[in-house]
């Protein structure tokens, strides 16, 4: 509650920091903001191409699944990698001006959200087109997208609270996080689907259960379920745990961040 009040009081600063982030990111590049869309689009195209090449017979890769997976993954990666440096990159500001330190990670995550929202628009058009070509239609549940995006945002926020504060005290954080991110990529259903994991697990249901403890596993599958009726919304087995523990993570992240921020200027 306290945090929300702070954020409304300082909304102008928050707004300006988000704008600065977005404006400065593509300053000087010819295509400018288009890169926001182009980068994940190319990533999706590359994955689709190579997956088709190696997967071959038996396994079918649905383009829409990959696009949704890559876009959702991009949101988290962008928030975490820029959030990790949000304090250290603004050392000058943190050392010299007093403002609630919580503004910085929130601004970073919000600017990642804005890029993601643009990507979601492109995603809706692409998925609708792909489904139409196959003779299907979009699930009506797609209306629930804002709720899932809000949840995804809070999850990213939780992670950023930890990594941004930790990076002030331990600069090793950035290297460790980069390593963990590449492991996380393969542990999340970006290039494949939860259904594939389930199939591979077969009788050993605990594998799927364990897999679903990864919040990104349920989030990405959730996005797919909201677009396409043939994908089930992940609520079975341990999926609920995957949905719930990020809430605790967010609260813990907030507490840790607020404790850590007191001494930021000592370490910058």
């Amino acid at each position: 509650m306290n945090a929300l009040r702070t954020l409304t009081t300082y909304r102008e600063l928050l707004h300006n920091l988000v704008v600065r982030d977005l404006k400065s990111r593509y300053k000087g590049s010819v295509l400018g903001f288009l890169w926001t869309i182009l980068t994940p689009l190319f990533m999706a195209a590359i994955y689709i191409f190579f997956l088709q090449l190696i997967a071959g017979r038996g396994v079918t890769i649905r383009h829409a699944d990959i696009i949704i997976g890559v876009f959702a993954w991009t949101f988290t990666v962008q928030a975490v990698t820029s959030g990790m440096n949000c304090i250290t990159a603004n050392a000058n500001l943190v050392n010299k001006v007093f403002f609630p330190r919580i503004i910085l990670p929130v601004a970073t995550v919000l600017s990642a959200l804005i890029t993601f929202l643009l990507m979601v628009v492109v995603q809706l058009v692409l998925v609708a087109f792909l489904l139409y070509r196959e003779g299907g239609t979009m699930s009506p549940w797609v209306m629930g997208l804002p709720v899932l995006i809000a949840y995804h945002l809070l999850f990213n926020m939780a992670v950023v609270f930890f990594v941004s504060a930790s990076n002030v005290y331990f600069r090793d954080t950035q290297h460790i996080v980069n390593l963990l991110l590449s492991a996380w990529f393969f542990m999340s259903p970006v290039m494949y689907t939860l259904a594939l994991v389930d199939t591979m697990a077969g009788e050993r249901a605990w594998i799927t259960n364990l897999y679903q403890l990864n919040p990104l596993a349920v989030i990405i599958t959730g996005y797919r379920a909201l677009h396409m009726s043939d994908t089930a919304f992940p609520l079975s087995g341990m999926a609920w745990a995957g949905w719930l523990w990020p809430i605790a993570l967010l609260m813990a992240g907030y507490v840790v961040y607020q404790r850590a921020q007191k001494y930021f200027s000592d370490w910058l």
Binding site: E12, L13, H15, N16, L17, V19, R20, K23, S24, K27, G28, N90, N92, L93, V94, N95, K96, V97, F98, F99, V168, Y169, F170, R171, D172, T173, I176, K262, Y263, S265, D266, W267
Partner: protein
């Protein structure tokens, strides 16, 4: 009277390893070995209170803890011991251009910086032209600030910062930015803040400026408050005790010592020893010398510099054709400066005894003797000029 700033038992310790960011490895090995953290107190046991509407200066040598003090008051630094209580909205002029983004234009940065400083968007829009004109950057305002010169950068920062409307204003050495014209504008702005009854805390090495603006001065050294009081008294004792001791001044003494100054006494016109003089009064300098051998045609010289090192005046007995055949043994040379035409400020007297052809320096004391001058009338400047006013009839 209610207090704007109250510091109680204030202290801030840094870990010595904190100079470099810690690594995970370093922390783990330290914990395993159980090594205690080495601490360095940047500030300790500092107590003071500043009533509302006062202007207080903080002086002290580099590394004495001045900036830490401002950081603690501003809230950017969390104290290790004690605390600071402040009453009112605080803004600081210590962040000129902090938060500027090099790729954004001057215009975009004005809005960004204003938001950081807590200035409302509408206020900036309303005052935009004024901000730009104050900075004198009209033709460059749509250029990315990375192409600005450092002076332009700071000027833009200052122009935005003074748009704040705080109750307490913290100023860190920013009065020394920009060219002369810009500095004058800044000082005017500071005076306006004073007239509006705001509380000001000024950290500066420009002692003249501190003396001119402040009601009270706090001297800190090695993290401790040494003295607090009237500007002229604190500054004078700072110059006398500290600047000399820590070698901030180019104080030196050299020479062959064939003729030596054994004692130098400054006196007022009533022959009382003193170090503070009045403009228009007399200043007497008694130089007790000891010539170890007969020295023919010696030259006694003196010069006066301001606390900032500005050379005010210098002369010697040779230039002035003072008849002096020789000196031998002990004696006293009296230098009488009357009327003393220096204005209020702190000065340093240098003295020397050298040979007629300047080839041998017998004894020279550079910036050795500090003294202060007070002008009871309040004219400005370094030096008093003889002048007269007269209203002329129209021709």
């Amino acid at each position: 009277m209610s207090m704007a700033i109250e510091a109680r038992h204030l202290g801030k310790a840094y870990r010595v390893q904190g100079m470099a960011p810690p690594t995970l490895f370093g922390t783990v090995t330290r914990l395993i070995r159980g090594q205690p953290l080495e601490q360095f107190w940047a500030l300790r046991n500092v107590d003071f209170s500043i009533p509302k509407g006062r202007t207080v200066g903080v002086i002290g040598p580099n590394g004495s803890g001045k900036s830490s003090l401002l950081g603690l008051i501003a809230g950017t630094i969390t104290p290790t011991e004690g605390g600071v209580r402040t009453d009112g909205r605080i803004s600081s002029l210590l962040e000129l251009g902090a938060g500027f983004h090099p790729d954004l234009t001057g215009r975009e940065n004005i809005y960004l910086n204003a938001a950081i400083l807590g200035i409302a968007h509408e206020d900036v829009t309303r005052r935009f032209d004024h901000i730009v004109d104050f900075a004198g950057l009209r033709e460059f305002i749509d250029m990315p600030v990375k192409h600005y010169s450092s002076g332009m950068y700071v000027r833009l920062g200052f122009s935005v910062a003074i748009e704040m409307n705080p109750d307490i204003l913290l100023i860190d050495e920013v009065l020394a930015v920009g060219d002369m014209a810009f500095q004058m504008k800044c000082l005017d702005r500071i005076r306006l803040f004073q007239k509006q009854g705001k509380t000001l805390l000024i950290v500066s090495h420009a002692l003249e400026t501190v003396e001119q603006f402040c009601d009270e001065v706090i001297l800190i050294h090695e993290g401790e408050k040494i003295m607090e009081g009237k500007p002229e008294e604190v500054i004078f004792s700072y110059l006398k005790e500290y600047m000399v001791r820590i070698g901030m001044l180019n104080v030196e003494e050299h020479g062959t010592r064939e003729a030596e100054m054994t004692d130098v006494v400054l006196r007022d016109e009533y022959e009382n020893e003193c170090t503070q003089f009045e403009t228009g009064g007399a200043m007497i300098v008694d130089i007790h010398y000891h010539a170890r051998r007969r020295i023919d045609k010696p030259v006694f010289g003196f010069n006066i510099k301001t606390g900032n090192g500005f050379y005010v005046y210098g002369s010697n007995t040779q230039i002035e054709n003072v008849p002096m055949d020789h000196i031998e043994g002990q004696g006293v040379m009296r230098l009488r400066i009357a009327p003393l035409t220096l204005q209020s400020g702190n000065f340093f007297l240098s003295l020397s005894i050298h040979s007629w052809d300047h080839s041998v320096q017998y004894h020279r004391r550079e910036d050795w003797h500090p003294f202060a001058v007070r002008d009871p009338h309040g004219a400005q400047g370094v030096f008093q000029l003889r002048h007269a006013w007269a209203l002329q009839e129209k021709a």
